[in-house]
């Protein structure tokens, strides 16, 4: 076997250029596969994290009655005792914070033009513990209200404001039905503009405080949802597990409530991400198959160039399996070099993506809008050693198969047929 290895290795070295081109094809295929996976994993993670941080939180709680009709955002069927729920949540070590929200449908206007938007009634202090909206605001995230005055401040999505030609410090007219179905409208001062990258928030949402909504919407402290922030983990599956467990806990403690985990809320997003990933993997698979064809071609050329050599070796006493191994080893050597170089390239790409990331620059907003989900201004990759190992093993398997098939053909020839081969 040592001699077989020696002949195979020397044959690879003899055709350096051919072997190098094949190995480079493979290197590019594997490197791209690793890099793309890192980027996709990073995008997935960023999308889900942004969704948790900006809109859905880790666990969202409604009452079952509200849940049945929540698409129309009714101002009824609120959580009876939000303080009790908050206290229960606070007792769990996985819970970082919880906050209350009430959503409603409203019309916003600049006195001339009007558009519909989703209003979010929040407690700015507790909301900032669960969501990161505050980090994306230009102006203030409410700050302190002037004592003795009616609170009429609003933080609007930047795109929504832009659509109406409004800017920070302008007044917007918000018109909505109160809890008791009366129509109310009032001027609100824009104290902050949100630019989160999430098209739903930026283009169709605004936020007001409970102190203003209790008066403006006759809310009377109605809380239609509670949002919970959980301890962050490095991997998504641990976060999913925690969310499921906390949701279960709430569901058991408060049978009238319907808690949703972020993975339930982001079900369609996660499905979209999966489909996107499958297609990307298909493309990468094609690249790897091209590399496989390269190896097969390289070994096949080697086989045809050396058919007579096979005849000689067989005449000298080489067995069929030794001939097979000789050519298969050639494929493996090329595959090994290609896979190793591919892994190195992939690690370098990952290193760049994880450390520096890809800056979307000014296009971040349009990318978020077209993708329908929030991205930051920089896309970061993630380390995925499982993918790196898979890519290397895949490369080697492909090389093994690509080398084995032509090798078997060569070995099947009789010595006389091989010696006659011109």
């Amino acid at each position: 076997m040592k001699e077989v290895l020696r002949i195979a290795l020397r044959n690879v070295l003899r055709h350096r250029r051919r072997a190098l081109i094949t190995a480079i094809t493979m290197m590019v295929g594997i490197g791209l596969f690793i890099g793309m996976d890192s980027m996709l994993e990073g995008v997935d993670r960023m999308s889900i994290e942004n969704m948790i941080n900006l809109s859905d939180s880790s666990v969202r709680i409604y009452t079952k009655a509200y849940d049945a009709d929540r698409q129309s955002l009714p101002l009824e069927n609120g959580i009876a005792d939000p303080a009790a729920v908050a206290a229960k949540l606070a007792s769990d070590h996985r819970v970082v914070a919880s906050t209350e929200r009430t959503q409603f449908v409203a019309q916003v206007s600049n006195y001339r033009d009007a558009t519909y938007a989703v209003g979010n009634v929040i407690n700015p202090v507790t909301d900032a513990r669960v969501f990161t909206l505050k980090d994306h605001v230009v102006g203030s995230f409410f700050g302190t209200a002037s004592p003795g005055t009616v609170d009429r401040r609003v933080v609007m999505g930047k795109s929504l404001a832009g659509k109406l030609g409004l800017k920070l410090g302008d007044t917007v007219v918000i018109s909505a039905r109160t809890r008791y179905d009366a129509q109310n409208a009032d001027d609100f001062l824009i104290v902050g503009l949100l630019s989160t990258g999430d098209p739903v928030i930026d283009a169709s949402s605004f936020f007001i405080t409970y102190s203003s909504a209790n008066d403006f919407l006759d809310l009377g402290g109605l809380v239609t949802e509670m949002d919970v922030s959980l301890v962050k983990h490095a991997n998504l599956s641990s976060m999913e597990r925690d969310a499921s467990e906390v949701a279960l806990l709430v569901g058991k403690a408060f049978p009238t409530l319907r808690p949703y985990t972020f993975q339930e809320l982001a079900k369609s997003l996660i499905e979209i991400l999966k489909v996107k990933r499958i297609w990307t993997y298909m493309i990468i698979l094609v690249i790897l198959l091209i590399a496989a064809v390269g190896i097969a071609n390289s070994v096949l050329m080697s086989v045809y160039e050396r058919i007579r050599e096979v005849g000689v070796l067989k005449a000298l006493g080489f067995r069929k399996r030794e001939v097979v191994w000789m050519f298969t080893f050639e494929g493996i050597f090329v595959g090994l070099a290609g896979s190793f170089l591919g892994a190195v390239l992939g690690i370098l790409i990952d290193w760049f993506l994880v450390g520096t990331g890809v800056s979307l620059g000014k296009s971040a907003e349009s990318v978020s809008a077209s993708a329908g989900m929030a991205f930051g201004s920089t896309l970061y990759g993630t380390w995925n050693w499982g993918t790196i190992t898979f890519a290397v093993l895949f490369g080697l398997t492909v090389a093994l198969i690509a080398g084995y098939i032509p090798a078997r053909r060569a070995a099947k020839m009789t010595a006389t047929a091989a010696l006659r081969f011109v």
């Binding site: 020696r6 003899r14 000689v312 005449a315």
Partner: protein
């Protein structure tokens, strides 16, 4: 000297598309141990087929090949491979050295395959035979660095290194100029005398035939003449 190889009514039919080609049409031939036998005849007469059948590279369609009293037709594939490995060596027209191996490594190859010798012993035997064929100083070169004559010498060294009983050489001088061809046959003659190795070689070259103990003439798959060279010389 006793008979080492005996062919009885050997026929070989090749099936080419829907046409049958009779390469050998009933060969009866006995070869003695230590003989230097030249098989001559025009192209397509069946010389190579005969050598391939003797060397077990090909099987006869009918008839028997008896080696040292044992019928090869009764052997299975594995036994035939062992027979070939232990008793027969080949020299090819195009030398067919392994281009990625050095001269020494090429010569060592049959011993490596046989797995009978240690590393040191293999090297010693290879160097000994390379000295015998006058190529000791070329030991570390690769085939591409040698002339045609030198390559064929290496091929002879490779064929002889494991002390085979029979060496089969298919047109060993066909690619060489007459002077080098003469040298190669002289070398085979020398090795035949020194080691008592049986040589069976096919050739077109009348100069080369002169060195043989016996010339077997084959035409259209049949032996037309089987002459001891001394008798032929007397006739001439």
């Amino acid at each position: 000297m006793g008979i080492i190889l005996k062919l009885e009514g050997v026929k070989k039919v090749y099936q080419k598309a829907e046409r049958s080609v009779e390469a050998l049409r009933g060969i009866d031939l006995s070869i003695n141990r230590g003989e230097l036998v030249a098989v001559v005849g025009p192209s397509g007469s069946g010389k190579t087929t005969l050598l391939n059948i003797i060397g077990c590279l090909d099987l006869p369609t009918s008839g028997n090949v008896i080696y040292d009293g044992r019928e090869l037709g009764s052997m299975n594939e594995k036994e035939l491979a062992i027979y070939r490995k232990e008793n027969i060596s080949f020299i090819f027209q195009s030398y067919n050295l392994i281009p990625v191996l050095t001269v020494t490594e090429n010569v060592e190859l049959p011993m490596v395959i046989e797995r009978r010798y240690g590393r040191k012993e293999m090297r010693e035997k290879a160097m000994e035979i390379l000295s015998a064929v006058g190529l000791a100083e070329m030991a570390d070169r690769f085939p591409r660095e040698l002339s045609g004559g030198q390559e064929q010498r290496v091929a002879i060294a490779r064929a002889l290194v494991k002390d085979p009983i029979v060496v089969l050489a298919d047109e060993p001088t066909a690619n060489l100029d007459s002077h080098t061809a003469e040298e190669i046959v002289e070398l085979m003659e020398k090795m035949n005398e020194a080691r008592e190795t049986t040589f069976v070689f096919s050739t077109h070259d009348s100069l080369v035939q002169r060195h043989a103990h016996r010339v077997v003439t084959i035409r259209d798959g049949l032996i037309k003449a089987d002459d001891a060279i001394t008798e032929r010389r007397v006739e001439v």
